[in-house]
């Protein structure tokens, strides 16, 4: 009897966790660890693990992005695609091929410079391939959407959304033709909760 009650409670919490993670309640998607703890209790990680298993059946996963020390309460949790979309699928999300290419160049350049690069340098590299107006428009948009971050000194960094959505190692690996399209990664992810 007590066991049934526990299962029902867990189901309820998993449903609540799904609502918290999938419905946007702030300007940014995702939920902070302390919010999950507040709503789901101290064992929120176990609830998230169960939810991750359920979402896995739908080709989704729960992703954690650290925003400080390991295990910090400000870590943010998101639901992301477990696999990756094709270019044609990405176009149906509203992305142009040029936009995707510009983000690839900007991220790769920043990552090759140890995670930060002056905005002017990134723009100069991009303007060798794309018109200036598109470069400026896209960089502004990527900053607004969280793919890139810019500090007061005009230095660009990898943004929170990139940390959540882009497998940075796979990005550079694919660019250099070192790896197959994230197959290994996907296999690892299927084993459990995807790490950052």
């Amino acid at each position: 009897m007590a066991e049934e009650k526990d299962v029902a409670e867990l189901r309820e919490k998993v449903a609540r966790a799904a609502q918290l993670l999938l419905f946007r309640r702030h300007m940014q998607p995702g939920v902070k660890a302390w919010e999950l703890k507040r709503d789901l209790g101290r064992n929120y990680l176990e609830v998230i693990k169960v939810l991750d298993g359920e979402l896995g059946k739908l080709g989704l996963t729960v992703k954690k992005v650290g925003e400080g020390e390991e295990g910090s309460e400000s870590d943010r949790y998101f639901v992301t695609m477990r696999g990756h979309p094709s270019v044609s699928e990405a176009r149906t999300f509203g992305w142009r091929i040029d936009d995707m290419a510009i983000l690839t160049v900007a991220l790769s350049y920043i990552l090759s410079k140890r995670g930060k690069a002056p905005l002017k340098e990134v723009e100069r590299v991009l303007e060798e391939k794309f018109p200036r107006w598109r470069v400026e428009q896209d960089i502004d948009r990527f900053i607004r959407r969280g793919y890139l971050e810019e500090d007061d000194e005009g230095v660009l960094y990898v943004g929170w959304r990139t940390r959540a959505e882009v497998d940075q190692k796979a990005l550079l690996g694919l660019l250099l033709g070192r790896e197959k399209v994230g197959e290994e990664k996907q296999g690892k992810e299927e084993e459990g909760l995807a790490p950052e």
């Binding site: 999938l22 419905f23 946007r24 309640r25 300007m27 998607p29 995702g30 992703k63 998101f78 639901v79 992301t80 695609m81 477990r82 696999g83 990756h84 979309p85 270019v87 699928e89 990405a90 509203g94 091929i97 040029d98 995707m100 290419a101 983000l103 690839t104 160049v105 790769s108 350049y109 990552l111 090759s112 410079k113 140890r114 930060k116 690069a117 002056p118 590299v125 060798e128 391939k129 794309f130 107006w133 400026e136 960089i139 502004d140 607004r144 959505e165 882009v166 497998d167 940075q168 190692k169 796979a170 990005l171 550079l172 690996g173 694919l174 660019l175 250099l176 033709g177 399209v181 994230g182």
Partner: protein
Amino acid sequence: MALTEGERKELMLRIIDLCESVSKRGVDPFDVEVKEFFERLRAILPKLRDWDELHLDIEAVLGLANVIFHQGEWIKHKSSLLYFDPLLIMWKLHSLSPKELAEVLAGSWHPILDMECLTPHGIKEAMDYWTNLPSFGERARLDATEVLTEEVALQELARLGILSEEEFVATLERAWGELKERADGGEISYWDFITARTFEETVSRAWLVSFLVSYGYATLEVKPLEEEILLRPLPKPMKLERVTRFSVPIAISRSEWQRRRRHG
């Protein structure tokens, strides 16, 4: 040979500048001769006389400590799995086509899923729309009214604040205040913001918004696929050079205004 006060200051300022170039401009931290600079700072330390010199010495030591931190980060990065030869990456970025580059992103991309839901802010917007929606009878009358273009009256110019720069700035500030209030820390649909009870007022508000965006009080985001234009007020006016260099033409016709008044 002992350094003069001027030479000591110059040495310390040079070290500070070099350290800043590592943290701010991405200069290779291993290009800085940390050990040599520490030895030179140690040599001049007993000769430092005033507070300014001591302050510079502290800044230089902190700067060098920061360079050592960056050296550590560099080693960690290079030994991590994320290290790839920057030259090779640059070569690839130059040689691949936009489509190939897009495929690289797609292959490493796991987009976030989230669903928009009705928020208190959304309910308020809907309520405002409903409250401001003219009655059916009024809308029918609006359809039948035809107002031809005419010269802008002097009084109208004064109302818009064109006649006096001070008044114009005040008008702009008022519009900015309203935009910040209605956006409530986020963004608001361009059409929701400019649409007013009369067509003339709508055009007047659109005209003010064009200045808010051009003068850096707000940013405008056009989403062609969603057919949406979003206004985001900035906390303080900023010179957005990269935004002001292109124009976004937005046609506001009477029929479009009427359509939006009816359907939102």
